[in-house]
């Protein structure tokens, strides 16, 4: 009995010995803030779990293009160039000399294979592209031709160029439907600058791919040999670890970073408030199927009653900035029609909120300090966000308090995430915060969230307040179908959308959530920053951001001598 135990232990420990190692500090970059749960899969076709293995796309697998949001520019990556030959033919030239991590060449066939997977399997996220994609063909080993039919959603396809990760045909071709659409892909072989090394419940470890094609063809070489991506149990632990210099880059939301930056403990992209770049818009969705939120005049009054500055100062300690009334991120500001905003925009003004309420017939009849609806019925609304999201919990407290100060009876409630989510998608909430449109290369991303249509029983991905306006929906569709080279056309449509949106105000954009990033330069220096002499890349390790500047950041890092 005891002998067996010894044998088993020896074998087990020997197994561990074969795998393990210690990463030298001066060759390792420690990052955190991307994952919300333990790593489970390295399958680039399962999208919702990629936050937990954020390097899967960008570090391990690569996309045809990268995207630089700061300059709003697509960067040819696996592609050397791409050209719209006609309105319905897009031709991509691949770089000559691309290789997979196993040494095999990456060719046009791999690109075709990847897109074809979407045609074959409806479970793959880019499968609906085949509604307007007619064929993807390899003209020669370096040329891929996409041809389209019907109503082409150019805006959507354009962001696919830097989001669809190309997988090797010689490895994936033999796999079953289940393996492809929901397999863990435990030993990922991509084309990227890093390889998967190991993982545990609270970490992902990547090791540099010394044979990466980018070193030869682009002259880029990421500085850290190892990247250890940590899932911290709480943001306080992340902060402690960062201040001790054990963590190099934190992409967690850490309130109070502003004062630490001012004192020089950490660095951020901007040296002054709001310190962070903007990543997405926090929008207050209003349930337009409920009274009195179905009344545009009431919604407008509400928008004037919310004290966004208090949210910025109290909930976020100055780390965010007020959103444009259109909700478009600063990187999309060229699509904001300033005339429309000047005419119809809103800002915190309780006096005006009261006037708007009175003008629309909302009066305090029973003298309790809160207005009643024009038909005399009482108004009592709730604003919600999931429990535990401390910054948002404080934000809805401010929303409720400032609305009450203007005479609108609103209480804040924080149900559990599951309850909140159900209320959100089934439309039983009154008002709630949401920010599911992330940074992208097109204003359509935001409008696809705000005016998702048609209205269905479950609104799973936008327009949670069920605002129904066929004219507006037609404009959003028109925008989706506008080719990217027609910037004037895009602007014209955006202007019309903004006109309707600000007139009707079916939801209220409040502030921009930050691209949280704070770094210590104890081991690595030359992190991104807005100031002269620093690299201008997005300093983020979140899923989807490696190809939006994250990898470029790694290439600019320098070890501290």
């Amino acid at each position: 009995m005891r002998k067996w135990l010894v044998v088993a232990l020896t074998v087990g420990l020997a197994g561990l010995l074969a795998l393990g190692q210690v990463y030298p500090r001066n060759e390792t970059l420690y990052v955190s803030g991307a994952a919300w749960g333990p790593p489970t899969d390295w399958n680039p076709f399962i999208t919702w779990s990629k936050a937990n293995t954020s390097g899967t796309v960008g570090l391990i697998y690569e996309t045809l293009y990268f995207y630089d949001p700061i300059n709003d520019e697509l960067i040819p990556w696996l592609a050397e160039s791409g050209e719209w030959r006609t309105d319905t033919v897009f031709v991509v030239k691949l770089r000559d000399g691309l290789t997979w991590q196993d040494g095999k060449p990456l060719t046009a066939e791999d690109v075709v294979f990847t897109f074809e997977l979407g045609r074959e399997y409806a479970e793959i996220w880019f499968s609906p592209r085949w509604d307007y994609l007619e064929s993807v063909t390899a003209v020669d080993p370096l040329t891929v031709e996409f041809s389209f039919k019907g109503t082409v959603l150019y805006q959507e396809f354009q962001s696919d160029l830097y989001n669809v990760a190309i997988v090797p045909e010689h490895i994936w071709a033999g796999r079953s439907r289940e393996d492809i659409t929901s397999g863990a892909n435990g030993q990922p072989v991509g084309s990227g600058a890093y390889r998967y090394l190991t993982h545990a419940q609270d970490r992902n470890v990547y090791v540099r791919n010394e044979d990466w094609w980018g070193t030869k063809l682009l002259g880029l070489k990421p500085a850290p040999k190892y990247i250890v991506e940590i899932l911290f149990s709480s943001n306080n632990v992340a902060l402690g670890s960062l201040l001790k210099g054990e963590l190099d880059l934190s992409n967690n939301f850490l309130p109070g970073i502003g004062s630490l930056t001012a004192l020089g403990y950490v660095k951020t992209y901007l040296p002054q408030p709001p310190y962070m770049l903007s990543a997405n818009t926090a929008v207050l969705f209003l349930n337009t199927t409920k009274k009195p939120l179905d009344d545009p005049a009431f919604r407008k009054a509400l928008a004037h009653a919310i004290n966004v500055d208090d949210i910025i100062n109290y909930a976020f300690a100055g780390l965010v900035q007020r959103a444009d009334p259109t909700g478009l991120l600063p990187t999309m500001s060229k699509y904001v029609d300033q005339n429309v905003v000047a005419r119809l925009g809103f800002a915190y003004n309780p006096t005006q909120a009261r006037q708007l309420l009175a003008a629309a017939g909302y009066k305090d009849v029973d003298g309790d300090g809160f207005v009643e609806a024009p038909d005399g019925s009482k108004i009592a609304l709730e604003v919600t966000c999931p429990f535990g999201w401390t910054d948002w919990m404080e934000a809805i407290r401010v929303i409720a308090a400032s609305a009450r100060a203007a005479g609108i009876n609103i209480q804040d409630r924080t149900p559990d995430y599951g309850v909140w989510n159900t209320a959100l998608v089934t439309g039983t909430f009154d008002m709630t915060l949401n920010n599911w449109a992330s940074l992208s290369n097109t204003p359509w991303t935001l409008y696809n969230l705000l005016f998702n249509h048609p209205i269905r029983e479950t609104m799973g991905s936008g327009n949670f307040g069920r605002y129904d306006n066929p004219q507006l929906f037609a404009l959003v569709d028109q925008l989706a179908g506008t080719p990217p080279w027609d910037e004037a056309g895009m602007k014209a449509i955006c202007s019309q959308i903004q006109e309707i949106m600000l007139n009707e105000l079916p939801m209220i954009p409040l502030w921009y959530n930050g691209l949280w990033a704070q770094y210590r330069e104890d081991v690595w220096q030359n992190f991104p920053g807005a100031t002269e002499g620093r690299p201008h890349w997005l300093p983020s390790t979140w899923a989807g951001y490696w190809q939006m500047g994250g990898l470029h950041m790694l290439c600019e890092l320098k070890p501290v001598p």
Binding site: T40, Q201, D416, T458
Partner: protein, 329 residues
């Protein structure tokens, strides 16, 4: 003997059935839809979300009537199939549990056994020794009345933050991957110590108090007085008293197992120690039916098996039970 075991087993089987049924029911009565929650983490076009929701609802077997889900569940349990986790999709629940179990066992087993042995020894030693009794009693009561979580937080604060000598989260450092070296083993023990200590201390207090009271009681018993009047040495009397006092402590252990399991869950959560408790917490937060079921199933089986082991142990250490069972009393 057979009848005794048969009756015990029947009770265990019934307990198992009820516990597992409740285990199946509770997550399903929680408000919310796990598939929707999972899909809400990506923003897609409406059609894509609808298609995916349908696909995964079917894949997880959530599209059939509730009674059918219940029957399917039992069938799967008997086939040893705990299903696929929703929150950690596409991992299988059984493989997730296998990763977490070693950590829980490494924490629980030494904590239970060592605290029981040390607590009993110390309680017996302290009884009727004035100065020890005066110090042990209040400290023991304090410890045993401390909620596990609270002591965990306190230890984490004192040794992790103020003194900064122990890590407050995780199972091993971020600069290592598991391998056989003194550095790694030291690191592992270093992370293990605080969660272990917080479990150990609370239980230790309880056992020590219990034993101390039992010994005092036994020392007052007739057989002790008799031995004493015969002029037996105090050591011998204490030895007999200890043996008799052990029996209620064994029963106590069986009764306490459930509480200890809960204690371990919260301790793991406090220290982010990657065992079953930590996993369970995340499973609940993410409404992962299958993972919640798996974790509870594991805990239920663990507690029942441990209880059974204590039952058997009781037969071995107490001759009276043995005789009672074969009817030779």
């Amino acid at each position: 003997m057979k009848r005794y075991l048969g009756r015990k087993l029947a009770i265990y089987a019934l307990t198992f059935f009820l516990a597992v049924t409740i285990d199946w029911m509770i997550p399903r009565f929680m408000p919310g839809n796990p598939v929707q929650t999972m899909l809400s983490r990506v923003s897609l076009r409406a059609e894509a979300v609808d298609a995916l929701r349908g696909y995964y609802t079917r894949a997880f077997g959530l599209d059939v009537p509730v009674w059918q889900q219940y029957l399917n569940f039992w069938r799967a349990v008997f086939q040893g199939d705990l299903g696929v986790s929703i929150y950690l999709f596409p991992k299988r629940v059984s493989s997730i549990l296998m990763e977490a179990v070693p950590y829980s066992i490494a924490l629980l087993l030494p904590a239970i056994l060592l605290s029981w042995l040390a607590g009993n020894k110390f309680g017996a030693f302290a009884a009727r020794r004035k100065w020890l009794d005066n110090t042990l009693l209040p400290v023991g009561y304090l410890l045993t009345a401390t909620p596990y979580m609270w002591l965990g937080v306190l230890l984490a604060w004192a040794f992790g933050i103020v003194l900064d000598v122990f890590p407050i989260a995780g199972a091993y450092s971020f600069q290592m991957s598991p391998h056989l070296s003194w550095a790694f083993i030291k690191d592992l023990l270093w992370h293990w110590f605080l969660p272990f200590a917080s479990l150990f201390l609370v239980m230790f207090g309880g056992w020590a108090i219990g034993m101390r009271n039992m010994i005092i009681y036994e020392l007052e018993a007739d057989y002790s007085k008799y031995l004493e009047s015969l002029g037996a040495p105090a050591r011998l009397i204490r030895k007999y008293a200890f043996r008799n006092a052990m029996l209620p402590q064994i029963t106590g252990l069986a009764l306490q197992l459930g509480v200890i399991a809960v204690g371990a869950i919260v301790t793991e959560i406090v220290f982010s120690y990657p065992g079953i408790g930590h996993l369970l917490m995340q499973a609940i937060q993410n409404q992962d039916y299958f993972l919640i079921q798996g974790c509870f199933l594991f805990i239920i089986m663990g507690v029942l098996l441990a209880n059974f082991a204590v039952d058997i142990l009781y037969i071995i250490v107490d001759p009276r039970t043995r005789r009672g069972m074969v009817g030779e009393s």
